[in-house]
């Protein structure tokens, strides 16, 4: 079969080819699938588009099943928050190319938002920390388009062609009108490509704390700094000034209140909390891809 290689537009654009190109451009599905859609729907573009959308879920699941078991060591941590609940999720993929891609990012944002909504449906009498396992995550409903998260993941797998997996989720809830503040943060703290208020990064932290500061912005800043510290210094637990004592080797200090504050090494976190009449009630730290 002879092929004419040229870089200018094809001389004879057949009707079929033009439609194939158009359908691909509009939907983004693979050329193979677009071609099949046109065949099945008798070259009717509108019907083909519909067919593709209907098939997307099935095709996504087919691909997901095919790729299942491939190592997913990369990914993103996503954090969604509002005044009474913060949610942190980890979604994995195979390569860091996909981790940086906006299709994947938008999936992570949807997962985080869905978990936040789910968290808000849980009883909120006290400050609660809870976790969702990979299996539980699969069934969480995704608010906007409906359907469980597992379906959304399958669709994304169909799109990027890599194995993707929901790994874990952490939730912190504070009862409304309590004095507890919630804060979430991801690192690197670059501008999210997403539209909503979900943050994404390789690391994330959630913190619940009490503080009597004279303004909301100041409280927000303190929360953010505490989260940043937790990401950077990786404490194992909060610590109790009455029961615990500092590690003689400051570099290995794993108790949060005794650690050198990330943003000011001349103070410990404990000093900073005292200064702001604050106390940390609970925290969670995720590092993408860590053993857990």
């Amino acid at each position: 079969m002879q092929r004419l290689l040229h870089s200018s537009a094809p001389l004879w654009a057949s009707l079929d080819k033009a439609m194939l190109g158009k359908l691909r451009k509009k939907t983004g599905y693979t050329f193979s699938n677009c071609k099949k859609a046109l065949e099945v729907c008798g070259n009717d573009i509108a019907k083909a588009e519909e067919w593709l959308h209907e098939q997307a879920k099935a095709l996504g699941w087919a691909k997901a099943n095919k790729l299942e078991g491939r190592a997913t060591a990369q990914g993103l941590v996503g954090v969604a928050s509002d005044s009474s609940c913060v949610a942190m999720v980890e979604v994995n993929c195979e390569t860091d190319f996909v981790a940086r891609n906006k299709t994947f990012r938008s999936l992570v944002e949807r997962v985080a938002a869905a978990c936040l909504n789910h968290g808000k449906t849980l009883p909120q009498d006290n400050l609660t920390k809870s976790f969702l396992s990979a299996d539980q995550l699969k069934t969480v409903p995704c608010g906007k388009e409906g359907g469980p998260l597992a379906d959304h993941v399958a669709l994304a797998i169909g799109s990027v062609g890599e194995n993707l997996s929901l790994r874990r989720c952490a939730l912190l809830q504070a009862p409304p009108r309590s004095a507890v503040h919630l804060s979430g943060y991801t690192h690197p703290a670059e501008n999210s490509l997403g539209v909503g208020p979900v943050l994404c990064g390789r690391y994330g932290a959630l913190v619940a704390f009490k503080a009597t500061l004279d303004s909301a912005p100041k409280t927000q800043i303190l929360g953010r700094q505490l989260c940043q510290h937790i990401v950077g210094m990786c404490p194992e637990r909060i610590g109790d000034p009455e029961k615990d004592s500092p590690n003689p080797d400051t570099d290995s200090e794993s108790v949060l209140i005794f650690q050198e504050f990330l943003l000011d090494v001349n103070q410990t976190v404990g000093n900073v909390l005292e200064e702001h009449d604050a106390s940390i009630l609970d925290f969670v730290r995720f590092e993408c891809g860590e053993a857990c």
């Binding site: 190109g21 693979t30 050329f31 193979s32 860091d96 690197p188």
Partner: protein, 458 residues
């Protein structure tokens, strides 16, 4: 020289200066007309340069995991082996992308080598964006071009955008496209795939209109099929690399630059500095300047010697001794740069790409937040440096790579792409390359911590 370098496992430059250092202890004899310490190495002086060996080119493959990068790489080595110009590397050997340590950094990278009648190719493949960036930052070699692989069945993937962004980030200018699995789709689809990828390349500032696009099947090629999409497609690919990618040549036309390896005095003649010319051409009598360590000294190259012989001209690649007029040994030191006047800027402030080693690689366990002051090592010198973060960044975790601002305690000349390492307590904690030179910062009395660094630099 190559032998010495490989025996000591040193980069070539260090091996050269090691030799210089050892030989400089011998006093040059008064009677001798040669000022250079006596030794010979490598090829002879090339005043009229002609390439004596085959040209070399570094190529990398980028593309979606399932589109056939590894199969293609294996196929290339197999087919070129049959031409006697490669050693076949199997799919499994390439796929494992073994970990490699470069300057202490762990990089997952597979290397294969092959040659055409025109060039040697060093072909690398990495599984991740971070691996390519770490490879670039560790300063080992500049990638000259990339083969972008796209399967015709899928067409480009959403993450093809990220593949092109990476290519841009590591400075690749030439991309050759291989459209794989071409046997599995029809002519129309092939044309659409080609159009689409050309458009995307143009969107990203690559030469979408004229870059070569090869259709083939890596699998058929690997199997040895002689049909259009089999073995011949690999030959077409090799041809495209030969013709489309320009040979990186030594730069003989830029203003000359010679990093100073050694300084000594020749009684009766004056002060001599030695080094290997990095760029350009120097003629006897040329005006020059020595820059570094906050100092600028105008001078003239009143004499040149290559291999103990007086010469009129020396070019990039030559190891040369330059008699520098009116300069005393005490004012000069190794690490300074001898270059054409008004060609280089001396500065203490730079933007750099940097990678902080993970704890596992021997680096830090905690992040840095800026105003980080340690020792920086680059070329043949070292000095104190302060690292600050760019606007929008609040900390740099070990294992992270990105751009930072450097402020050196002394003004030096650093070229774009020049690599450096940062050491804390004598262990390497970061490695990087210069992106661009900024205006020098003023700060009181060597007090780096007092410098006011503006972090909104683009």
């Amino acid at each position: 020289m190559a032998l010495l370098a490989s025996v000591l496992k040193l980069p070539r430059q260090l091996a050269q200066s090691a030799l210089h250092a050892s030989c400089a202890c011998r006093r040059p004899s008064l009677a001798s007309s040669s000022w250079l310490p006596t030794r010979t190495w490598s090829s002879g002086p090339k005043v009229n340069p002609e390439p004596q060996q085959k040209q070399h080119c570094n190529v990398g493959t980028i593309g979606h995991v399932d589109h056939g990068k590894t199969t293609l790489t294996a196929a290339i080595t197999k087919i070129m082996e049959q031409k006697g110009q490669s050693k076949y590397t199997s799919y499994d050997d390439i796929d494992s992308a073994p970990e490699e340590k470069s300057r202490g950094i762990t990089i997952n990278i597979a290397h294969v080598y092959y040659q055409t009648s025109l060039r040697h190719y060093a072909h690398t493949d990495c599984p991740g964006h971070a691996d390519y960036v770490k490879n670039m930052i560790s300063g080992t070699s500049q990638m000259d071009c990339a083969i972008l692989l796209v399967a015709a069945t899928d067409g480009q993937m959403p993450q093809t955008v990220e593949h092109l962004l990476l290519a841009k980030q590591i400075g690749i200018q030439h991309i050759v496209v291989f459209i794989n699995k071409a046997d599995l789709v029809d002519k129309d689809t092939l044309e659409l795939v080609e159009l689409e990828i050309r458009e995307l390349l143009s969107d990203f500032g690559f030469d979408g209109n004229d870059c070569p696009v090869i259709f083939g099947s890596a699998l058929k090629a690997l199997k040895g099929e002689e049909t259009e999409y089999g073995v011949p497609s690999v030959h077409r690919l090799m041809d495209a690399l030969d013709k489309y990618v320009p040979t990186p040549v030594r730069d003989y036309t830029s203003p000359f630059e010679m990093p100073i390896d050694n300084v000594f005095s020749v009684p009766g003649r004056g002060t001599v500095v030695t080094g290997t010319i990095k760029k350009g051409t120097i003629k006897k009598g040329d005006d020059a300047v020595v820059l570094g360590f906050n100092e600028e000294h105008k001078t003239q190259a009143s004499g040149l010697q290559v291999f103990k012989k007086n010469v009129e001209v020396a070019v990039a690649g030559d190891n040369v001794g330059v008699l520098v007029k009116n300069l005393k040994v005490a004012t000069l030191e190794k690490g300074m740069l001898l270059c054409a006047r008004n060609s280089k800027k001396i500065s203490n402030h730079y933007v750099a790409n940097i990678y902080f080693l993970t704890k596992g690689e021997g680096g830090r366990s905690k992040p840095i937040i800026g105003k980080y002051i340690q020792q920086m090592f680059s070329a043949t010198w070292n000095c104190a440096v302060r690292i600050d973060l760019k606007e929008g960044q609040d900390m740099f975790m070990p294992g992270q790579h990105g751009q930072v601002l450097l402020t050196l305690i002394k003004k030096m000349v650093m070229s774009d792409g020049q690599s450096f390492t940062v050491r804390e307590n004598n262990k390497t904690v970061a490695t990087g390359t210069i992106v661009k030179t900024l205006e020098s910062l003023h700060f009181p009395n060597n007090k780096l911590y007092k410098a006011e660094v503006k972090n909104d630099v683009i």
